[in-house]
């Protein structure tokens, strides 16, 4: 008997230890349930974050674009002017000041101003329509992992330098060190050296994207000093939609979140999560019924002991807590066993679910947070499951219990 333990704890642990077989069986039962939940959660979050990562590898969490200009009917100048405005690239008003304000928002992890627009890449006879993207590389890679996508050369966009995709390199028959002529629709043109090749994992992007320095793009696209968008990375990507609405309201800029841009994909993720929650709920329910049934049997078996404890002055509350604790302890130990089992499943899964080349299909981990949540959840489920048996123990008539 540990001196610091209250009566209820002592009685609960002794009862569990005495009914060793029952206790072990139910702990294993809880463990199996918890392991399935933990394994499934880890698998799902691994799968989802992998899907999200692939989807978002060439997308920012949030993109700020210039406000849409309302085409006002104008006297005199008429359509021609409106037409011309629509064609011209527009910059985000006072974007430097905006950047300063964005830097103060705690949700934002990285800010990358971008000047981009259509252009043509010419080399010899080949002439390809491209998307010219001017970036500040240090900031850009914190929003889009271009540094992870480099397959040749290096990520560097000083004046006169460009990065192109592997598809465009093939289309133009160009490689590292070759020169490339860029003609913008503004009429400006420049000759750049290819210093890096990338593979964004997307054929269209590999064929169209050409990265240059921000200044180079600004002058080619007739956007001197301006940017066509500001790309943002958030600490919590699922905040993107909420933040986009806030920024839109505050700045009047168009704010596109990845959630809106990939609405279907996001819905698929959400429904996957809902269905897994449903499964989790039912596993939790069956775990609860398992604990409850074992404790109901235990209360019946221990009626005499409960009666004698009551005769010795134990209150209803003390008996209630003794059995609630047993439920909680079973839940807690079951969840620890379950987490260990889930860890084994995952180790096994990692050796089975591999690509042809032996690399894992995607990374999954049992995070400590998940184990903590499982432990807290299972303990709570155990206590709730013990509620009915514990109330039965508390309301037992000692006279009947002792005689019986």
């Amino acid at each position: 008997m540990h001196p610091w333990l209250p009566f209820e704890w002592i009685a609960a642990t002794r009862f569990l230890r005495e009914g060793r077989t029952q206790s072990l069986l139910i702990i294993v039962g809880v463990g199996v349930g918890v392991s399935v939940i933990v394994f499934m959660s880890a698998l799902l979050s691994g799968l989802q974050s992998n899907l999200v990562k692939r989807t978002l590898s060439s997308q920012a969490h949030l993109v700020l674009l210039p406000a849409e200009e309302i085409a006002r009917p104008q006297f005199g100048e008429g359509q021609a002017l409106v037409q011309k405005q629509a064609q011209r690239l527009r910059s985000i008003d006072q974007w430097q000041a905006l950047r300063g304000r964005l830097e103060k928002l705690p949700e934002i992890a990285a800010i990358s101003p971008v000047a981009s627009g259509p252009a043509f890449a010419v080399r010899g006879d080949a002439n390809k329509s491209i998307s010219l993207i001017g970036i500040e590389p240090a900031n850009y890679v914190r929003v889009i992992e271009l540094d992870q996508k480099m397959v040749g050369g290096e990520l560097r966009v000083n004046a006169g330098e460009a990065l192109i995709g592997i598809e465009l390199a093939r289309d133009l028959g160009a490689t590292l060190g070759d020169k490339l002529r860029i003609n913008a629709s503004s009429g400006a043109s420049d000759t750049l050296t290819i210093v890096g090749l990338f593979d964004l994992g997307n054929k269209a992007a590999n064929a169209r994207n050409v990265y240059v320095g921000l200044r180079t793009a600004q002058s080619l696209l007739d956007l001197v000093g301006g940017v066509s968008s500001i790309d943002l990375a958030l600490h919590d990507m699922y905040q993107a939609e909420a933040l986009s609405q806030r920024l839109n309201a505050e700045t009047g800029l168009i704010a596109d979140s990845w959630i809106k841009t990939n609405a279907q994909f996001f819905t698929a993720l959400t429904s996957q999560r809902i269905s897994s929650n449903v499964i989790r709920f039912f596993i939790g329910l069956s775990v609860a019924f398992g604990i409850a049934s074992v404790l109901v049997v235990s209360v019946v078996q221990r009626s005499r002991e409960i009666g004698i404890l009551r005769a010795m002055g134990a209150s209803r509350g003390q008996m209630l807590r003794t059995f609630l604790l047993q439920g909680g302890i079973v839940g807690l130990f079951g969840s620890l066993l379950g987490s260990a089992l889930a860890w084994c499943f995952l180790a096994l899964w990692r050796t089975l679910a591999v690509n042809a080349d032996g690399t894992p299909m995607f990374m999954i981990e049992v995070e400590p947070g998940l184990v903590l949540i499982a432990a807290a959840g299972a303990t709570l489920v155990g206590v709730l499951a013990a509620l009915m048996p514990a109330r039965r123990a508390a309301s037992l008539d000692p006279v009947v219990a002792i005689r019986g």
Binding site: M1, H2, P3, W4, L5, P6, F7, I10, R14, F15, R17, E18, R304, E305, G307, I308, L309, R310, A311, M312, G313, A314, S315, R316, Q318, P398, V399, I402, R403
Partner: protein, 245 residues
């Protein structure tokens, strides 16, 4: 009848009735019991099977509530007490020794003796442990202190139960056929132990027994027949006058 001052009475019953519902009709098992036990009395409760002895003991032990009448423990009228107060009073003032010793098998002999103190104080402490060890020594079981209760013989279990009943220094110990399950020799030992405690600690005892030999060794014999006390006689004859075994 010249009653002593209630202040000295450990137990006082006045018109105590108990009925049970059997089907549609009420079955009255106790028909108005009047009984007073003074501090230090060592009384036997005898009567044929089914006469209501256990029912009466359960009422006195505050395990059950009377249908009518008054029940005082140490001068405290119990009919108006709440469930919590009743439980507390029971734990502190009354010790039980049952026929089927009823130890808690998950605990050792010593821990079983400690149990009433543990329940009362909430947490174990060294004083409690010392008190339990002293009580176990008093019933001659020091060397069995760390045995699991389930590993003890019937006589040893009953000794532990007696030690446990005394843990809280109760005013009144109720024993329902404490020797009913034991052989004659062990029964005598246990009875002698109860008597010794009674004389040493001035603890009041009310002992249900079928054994006229044992009843004869009590100071007072209360006889219950069909829910009424039919005789209540002091038994001043010292035990040594009875044929010894």
């Amino acid at each position: 009848m010249a009653e002593t001052l209630p202040a000295n009475a450990v137990l006082q019953l006045a018109g105590l009735k108990k009925s049970y519902l059997s089907g549609d009709s009420e079955l009255e098992v106790l028909h108005g019991i009047d009984l007073t036990l003074q501090r230090g009395e060592f009384a036997a409760l005898i009567g044929p099977s089914g006469s209501g002895k256990s029912t009466l003991l359960n009422l006195i032990g505050l395990l059950d509530r009377p249908s009518a009448g008054q029940l005082f423990i140490d001068g405290v009228e119990t009919s108006t007490l709440s469930e919590t107060e009743i439980t507390r009073l029971r734990g502190q003032r009354i010790g039980f020794v049952f026929q089927h010793h009823l130890l808690i098998p998950a605990f050792t002999a010593l821990e079983n003796v400690m149990m009433p103190l543990l329940i009362d104080r909430g947490r174990p402490d060294t004083a409690m442990r010392a008190r339990a060890a002293e009580l176990l020594a008093g019933v001659g079981l020091s060397e069995r202190a760390d045995y699991p209760a389930s590993k003890l013989s019937g006589g040893q279990q009953q000794r532990v139960a007696i030690a446990r009943a005394l843990a809280m220094r109760p005013s009144l110990v109720l024993a329902d056929e404490p020797t009913g399950n034991l052989d004659t020799h062990t029964a005598d030992d246990i009875f002698a132990l109860l008597r010794e405690v009674n004389q040493r600690e001035q603890t009041t005892f009310l002992i249900v027994t079928h054994d006229p030999r044992l009843a004869g060794r009590c100071d007072r014999i209360v006889e219950l027949v069909d829910g009424d006390i039919v005789s209540d006689r002091p038994h001043p004859i010292p035990t040594k006058h009875l044929p010894a075994d």
